[in-house]
Amino acid sequence: MGKIIAIHSYKGGTGKTLFSVNLATTFALKGKKACLLDMDFRAPSLHAIFKVNNVECWLNDYLNGTCTIQKALVDLSEISGGKGKLLVGLANPSTEAIRDMSAKDRKWEMRALGRLLSLRNSVLDEMGMDYLIFDTSPGLQYSSINAIVSADLVFVISTIDASDVQGTKRMLCELYDLFEKKTYIILNKVLMDISSKRGKEELSERLGNTHTLPIFEIVPCFCDILKAGGTYIVAKEKPQHFFSKMLCHMTEKINHL
């Protein structure tokens, strides 16, 4: 049975898209069938990362009920070199579409939730995909909460920035607990050297008793990845990179969750 994973964070710029893209790519490189959806309708980004501009239907159209999910998915399996499958659903980046999506009412959001919930049946069961990954918008947004409610697992990416840590803590208590979701934290851009005792102490001092939920992974800050600025997919282009190896390890851990 497939898994639905939502990747979320309290603040923007924590690395949600970096993780979503590389996680989906790693799954495909390992011969799995992964489907990645850009749920950040306020600031779409997957079209730029995968360099796809002409699509028949956007994810916006699927949520509007004007096309099927199959029509809104772009097949990018060539990224995995034929090993696995990678389908991507893109959010429409035009200003008009962003404006349209931000003006939706509660009734529309309710129907959108229904359409996201039905993806378990269409994408996982009928299309036989192994993983469905939602790359969400930061904070308490309708589109993000809809994705969280529809998911089996939620990964919250947090940096060690004080406001991010505090906000994440509040979100865990006031959002995830209420929906009883399996939630795991990925600490990203960690500058402390956690291989040393001093670094570990420094990190736990910074976090205090904030993270009561299991920390899934602690990811260091990679200057070269920041410098690349999303111009290439690390897991694909640099399989020997420490980050790619961490992702491989993470995909194995996800299988056992």
């Binding site: 509660r106 309710m110 229904g114 039905s118 909460i145 929906f179």
Partner: protein, 126 residues
Amino acid sequence: MKKRDFSTKKSLLILEKIKESLEKLNQKMEVMIELQKHGKTDTENFADITAPLDVMTLLSMPDHLRKTAITVCRLGRATAEEVAQQTKRARAVESAYLNQLVLMGYLKKERQGRKAYFYVDKENKE
């Protein structure tokens, strides 16, 4: 001694009844609060009220109702029995919660033979 036992049993029964009545009262109060929130005072038109069951509404619901509402969202259309299987709560409990959600306007109820199905009304009635 026997008399004492009897009186303890009796008071326990009374307490149980009070507890039940309080629970019923609580459920009714929740319905009234919800109706007031949405500015509906005409209690005769219960069946006509439709309120969208979106995630923000789910978040603001009391915990016990949220669990039931999310389960119906997931199942699409379900009987109290099917909801109870998912939530691991008693069928009678789920039945009460489901009917409460119908009164609040979040769910619709449809009878088919002896079975009652609950579902989210997704039709646009604006």
